[in-house]
């Protein structure tokens, strides 16, 4: 546990040694400002269905920030060590592979949470500035942030996996982006196919569709299935990362 904390500290520090952390935080802050503004603009036009929260997370701006966060946060984690050769010093010290995997993963999760703090603050600042004149449904606000958190757990785990596969950070980033995007597209392609497909299939796709999850959660509904779904996917990718790193020690 001590070793794990030492590794975690190093990972977190190294995020802040490189400009990546600051750039990502700043960019996401700006983009979220845009999506928040877009939501406010819609509500200004008159009575609408949906709240400030649901409009914010349905804007294209949100998706823009969503996809580039994960590659930027995770591409460095393993690929850089592989490239520098520091895997050799790391894994010949008395540390276990799971400690390395979880410390890197958790560091990226911590940073991911930090990234969303300013956007959450948007809502509270807005609420206090308008002195309660706007109605912000707190249930759906917390719901959507919970969802963003677990979606992050999955996407970051996929990013870790991609990073562990290669020594090239660009390749890792592209791979991580591809996984996230494919997963997203899998969820939306039904919308474009219309209703020409069997009902059970639509059900199944809704089960994994990120857009659908966001719709449900921004309406203030709490569904445990998506949460379980993302957590188990995250777990699968972390196990995968562990296996990739252990591969060199396999006896065939």
């Amino acid at each position: 546990m001590r070793t794990f904390l030492i590794l975690l500290t190093r990972e977190l520090r190294s995020f802040f040694y490189s400009p990546v952390a600051y750039v990502v935080i700043a960019l996401v802050m700006i983009i979220n400002g845009f999506s928040f503004r877009a939501a406010v603009a819609i509500l200004e036009r008159g009575p609408q269905q949906g709240s400030l929260v649901s409009w914010t997370f349905h804007s294209q701006w949100f998706w823009l920030s969503y996809f580039f966060i994960f590659p930027l946060l995770t591409m460095r984690l393993f690929a850089e060590e592989r490239k520098l050769g520091t895997f050799e010093t790391l894994f010949t010290a008395p540390v276990r592979t799971w400690q390395v995997v979880w410390s890197k993963y958790l560091a990226s999760v911590v940073l991911y949470c930090l990234i969303w703090v300013p956007s959450l603050a948007n809502f509270f600042i807005f609420e206090s500035m308008t002195a309660g004149a706007t109605e912000i449904p707190h249930g759906s606000l917390y719901g959507i942030y919970l969802l963003i958190f677990v979606m992050g757990l999955f996407n970051l785990a996929a990013g870790c996996f991609a990073s562990a596969l290669t020594s090239n950070q660009i390749v890792a980033a592209v791979l991580s982006f591809t996984i996230s995007l494919m997963h997203y597209l899998l969820g939306v392609f039904v919308l474009y196919l219309g209703r020409r497909i069997p009902e059970q299939f639509v059900e199944l796709v809704h089960y994994i569709a990120t857009v659908e999850h966001i719709r449900v959660f921004t309406y203030g509904l709490l569904d445990s299935r998506p949460i379980a779904y993302y957590l188990s996917l995250a777990f699968v990718f972390i196990i995968g990362t562990h296996q990739v790193l252990e591969f060199r020690r396999w006896r065939v």
Partner: protein, 308 residues
């Protein structure tokens, strides 16, 4: 300290280490030699638990490097080839991190980091970012890292690779200072260094052990004969005269320089004919400009055992 039995490592379609067996006793300084691609680094990576052996076993400090990897790793300090380091950290910070994951903490950690920075002459650069250090300093940071946990065994893969002569000497002195107190397995291509520092030499070629002996014994055993360089003038028929001296096996005439003739004589093992040559020259009124015996070196042994 190290016990390797029948170690074999096969990469995809390539056998890098082939049935290797050797032992290293506590306190020994062992040189690990071999041409490029002989399998030295591969063996070291297995010993440090970074790679798994394809077959065979290896024990470090009594712990199996595969099944009791963590315990084995606690007993050793490893400096990989090319000294990989975290480039974004500062020297002291890096050593503190490394010391901490090797189980040190609190005042002991601070003390050890201070000690190894002194030993490796890093105190001046302790606040510098590793990326901005020269190669020699990086190499020393990696060496300090290997030392920081005070392990009973050091495994150093080409610790002097890429250093200038002063630095090489510095590392050599550092190693000599550990002699007797610490077990060291080091690979290097600088054979003069091996002759000066190592108690024993393991010579690897194409993954197989070719020699396992003290440097002196290797030199003595492997080259039956030594060479004598002679430059003479003031006479004729040198070769016929020299051939009659007992102990001369073969005479090679080298290039002539003015009226000086240069010969290389191959001499029987454990004989010294320099006095006989001098007497011969005196008798025939030759002049001698050079009479030099060339003792075979570890380099000759290396070339003899590994050239293809």
């Amino acid at each position: 300290m190290i016990d390797v039995q029948n170690l074999t490592k096969t990469y995809v379609g390539k056998t890098a280490v082939d049935g290797l067996s050797f032992k290293v006793e506590p306190g020994e300084v062992v040189g690990f030699l071999g041409p490029n691609g002989a399998g030295k680094s591969t063996t070291m990576r297995i010993l440090t638990g970074f790679l798994s052996p394809t077959s065979g076993t290896a024990r470090v400090n009594g712990f199996d490097v595969f099944h009791q990897s963590i315990d084995a790793r606690r007993s050793l300090g490893y400096m990989p080839e090319n000294a990989p380091l975290y480039m974004d950290m500062r020297v002291k910070e890096y050593l503190q991190f490394r010391g901490a994951i090797k189980g040190l903490s609190g005042s002991l950690l601070r003390k050890r980091v201070g000690e190894v920075m002194d030993a490796c002459a890093l105190t001046e650069v302790r606040r510098k970012i590793i990326n901005n250090l020269s190669k020699g300093f990086r190499q020393r940071v990696a060496l300090a890292d290997a030392l920081v946990g005070k392990p009973p065994l050091l495994i150093l893969d080409e610790p002097t690779n890429g250093l200038d002569p002063n630095q090489i000497r510095h590392v050599r002195e550092l190693l000599l200072a550990f002699k007797g107190r610490q077990t060291i397995l080091l690979s290097t291509h600088i054979l003069s260094q091996v002759e000066q520092t190592c108690d024993r030499v393991l010579l690897l070629h194409q993954g197989k052990l070719r020699a396992d002996d003290t440097p002196q014994n290797l030199v003595r055993k492997l080259r039956a004969a030594s060479d004598l360089h002679l430059e003479v003038s003031g006479g004729t028929g040198f070769e016929e005269h020299l051939a009659k001296v007992t102990g001369v096996r073969k005479i090679t005439a080298e290039k002539q320089e003015g009226n000086w003739s240069h010969f290389t004589l191959r001499i029987e093992a454990r004989t010294d004919i320099r006095e006989a040559i001098f007497d011969l020259a005196l008798k025939n009124r030759w002049q001698i400009r050079e009479l030099r015996r060339e003792l075979p070196t570890l380099e000759d042994v290396f070339v003899e055992l590994t050239h293809v």
